[in-house]
Symmetry: C2
Subunit: 428 residues, 2 copies
């Protein structure tokens, strides 16, 4: 069922959804209405798309308390364990403002401050992904963002999935608004009576959410538009084929468009893994999705050696890269492009999805060549700081004048001359 | 000539250019042709748009030597001085990969590596902006990018402005390709015989360049699309009105769309500055541009006190913010949104454009709320590293299983069970 292909034929790149013209028109209409009518438009779209009639858009404290009674104590404990580890990892990403001083009195620096307000979009629908709430909220919280608001579409009974509410509370979110789709993105970008205008919007969503995010980009910041999930497993003959098969399937079950690839120099491992995938796939709840993904986007590639394996992985620049090889640390320096790197037999990708600590929001579709995991850096902004002394300006002023005049910008030169020349002497 | 307005009426936000449908079609045609025909398409478009017939697209070593003879020794010295300071400042932005170890053997980390290949677009046309070459190239070089290629449109005689070539060489760039417009962006995104495919494209350009960058975004990374320049000067009665007027004009001369705003509690400073702008403006080479900018986008605002001044500046989130006040350091903590902050009377904005060290590529159009100056961070990528020990997996495995099953992802749970359960024991 899984294809055996040549390394050159491997590609994990899938075309991104651009949205149909009808979808784009619809998103543009929704955004315009939210901009001009605020909450009234939010209620109207929520009634139409989610079939929910809401008295209040805000999730009330009692709803969160009720949610805690609806989930199991074990779930809460696991969520808290995950939150602790995610918070601790992201705390290592925090950075300090810095400055350097020069003897003439000049001070240069870089201020690092958190964004003030962030919106996290949480998809609704049949399944809930509380881990995604933690992974999107906690880096912002660790960065020091003071206002984090979640928007999520309500079910038709006006409620939000309890595990979403519990995850939001565990992540420290105080404000959850029941609105989804393009209307939620518009509300976060422009602000309404119930939804504060934010500086940045993160979190996954359907095509309408993605189109709306692209639309408001520049007025607010947005995160990467995530593509379907991918895993590349590089394994040698020391790898257990059951581990490898299970890990490939754990990506495949996400989405028929997900891509799972094994690269190995071991023909025996390749054959055993191919058979094992068949066996394990049947046991999955989402067996059909996984089977389709494996059939259409799965592959096993035989390579000469691990060197070729790692080179091939670099070319694919996968979201997740597992190295199930005898000496995984020997290869870390050779890995150039990967969102997250999992070393050895006891680091299956799902550990990274939930509890390890690093973020599970990762660059997809070959973009690990230049994009990075979501993290604290995504919720800060920098400001350059320049405090020149009079002495430094005298010293550097002529260089500024020379370069400004070479660029034809005499006003730039004049601003230096005003301070240096005769006319620059203060007359008060 | 400069308007005196109420603080509430101030806005530096200008609508961004979306491009006409004809421009978009043209860009899409150009990109498709470069993708399919490579260098042949580049030559064709260069002949058509730049009226240049080129034997080689590459700038030859002799052309660079010739350029050094065409510029003045003083210019070279000033450029070298600027390059030194810019490099030194950006070296402070370098970051290390890190890891943390746990007693059970688990290792988590974050790898930080430079992008491999970066393309810097340098506009052609009548003026050349060598400072922009330094500001776009040096952060990439400091980040450790090993291949940096410049593309720039040739003049009709097939040459490139000498100051661009000298700046490129001083910044250490080895490869300069004579191609501009959307065709250059397409070449950088897809690669041709003469132009390597890059991971990221930075640098300013006209509307065709901007549209093409947006088009290829996702296949490669791009920088922010820059809007017209802005300055906000917050000044009190201790400020010299001639400095203030000169600094406002230094932004205004960039572009009729540039915005220059003075916010002050001193009526006397406001009035003197308004008059002084008239006087100084006439002396500029680009007096007409500056006058139009001041007329259409300039403003002076009287506020109660410096507190209101800084609050107003925060709302505007300007690209450049000067604090020409008695105790500028007292206000640094209050400034929330600014691309670059200039403190005191001897830190005119042009110092930051050329020699201070911090980057002059800054967030415009109110985006300093969430965007940052160009810097080393823009040329690195991060990879999360997860190496779990068997003991840690035993400890955390059940949490993964609980959370995965709560999300309906039984394949994720199975990948843990394969390692923990009976069936997980290795049979080799």
């Amino acid at each position: 069922m899984i294809a055996i292909v040549q390394p050159e034929a491997l590609s994990t790149r899938r075309e991104k959804e651009a949205g149909t013209p009808a979808q784009q028109r619809s998103v543009s209409e929704i955004i315009a209405s939210v901009r001009s009518e605020g909450d009234a438009a939010l209620r109207r779209w929520t009634s139409r798309f989610d079939r929910a009639e809401l008295s209040s858009l805000d999730v009330a404290a009692e709803e969160i308390e009720e949610a805690y009674r609806q989930v199991s104590p074990g779930f809460i404990q696991s969520l808290q364990h995950a939150a602790r580890r995610i918070r601790r990892y992201h705390e290592q990403q925090r950075r300090q403002s810095w400055m350097e001083t020069e003897e003439d009195g000049t001070i240069l620096g870089q201020l690092i401050r958190p964004l003030e307000t962030v919106g996290v979009y949480v998809p609704g629908g049949r399944a809930a992904y509380p881990s995604s709430v933690l992974m999107n909220v906690l880096p912002a919280a660790v960065a020091g963002v003071s206002r984090i608001v979640i928007t999520t579409p309500p079910q038709s009974d006006g409620k939000v999935h309890p595990s979403t509410l519990v995850a939001a509370r565990e992540a420290g979110v105080k404000r959850i608004v029941k609105v989804g789709g393009a209307q939620a993105i518009a509300a976060l970008a422009y602000g309404t009576e119930s939804v504060p205008r934010v500086d940045k919007i993160v979190g996954p969503g359907n095509i309408y959410v993605a189109l709306a995010k692209r639309w408001v980009y520049g007025r607010v910041d947005i995160d990467m538009i995530a593509g379907p999930s991918e895993i590349v497993v590089v394994a040698d003959r020391t790898a257990d084929h059951r581990y490898v098969a299970a890990d490939l399937l754990s990506q495949a079950e996400h989405d028929p468009m997900a891509s799972a690839v094994l690269i190995t120099p071991s023909r025996s491992l390749a054959e055993k893994t191919a058979r094992e995938i068949e066996v394990q796939c049947r046991r999955l709840e989402r067996a059909e999705i996984a089977a389709q993904s494996i059939r259409e986007h799965g592959a096993i590639t035989l390579v000469r050696d691990l060197e070729e394996a790692v080179e091939t992985a670099n070319r694919l620049a996968p979201e997740h890269l597992e190295l199930i090889v005898e000496k995984p640390w020997n290869w870390v320096g050779r890995v150039k492009n990967a969102g997250a790197l999992f070393l050895g037999p006891y680091s299956p990708e799902p550990v990274g999805d939930y509890v390890a600590g690093p973020n599970h929001v990762l660059p997809t579709n070959g973009t690990a060549r230049f994009f990075s995991p979501l993290g604290v850096d995504d919720f800060i902004k920098k400001t350059s700081l320049i405090s020149y002394s009079r002495q430094a300006l005298i010293q550097d002023g002529n260089h500024v004048i020379t370069l400004a005049e070479a660029e034809g910008l005499t006003g730039h030169a004049a601003s230096i001359r005003a301070r240096l020349g005769e006319e620059g002497k203060k007359d008060e």
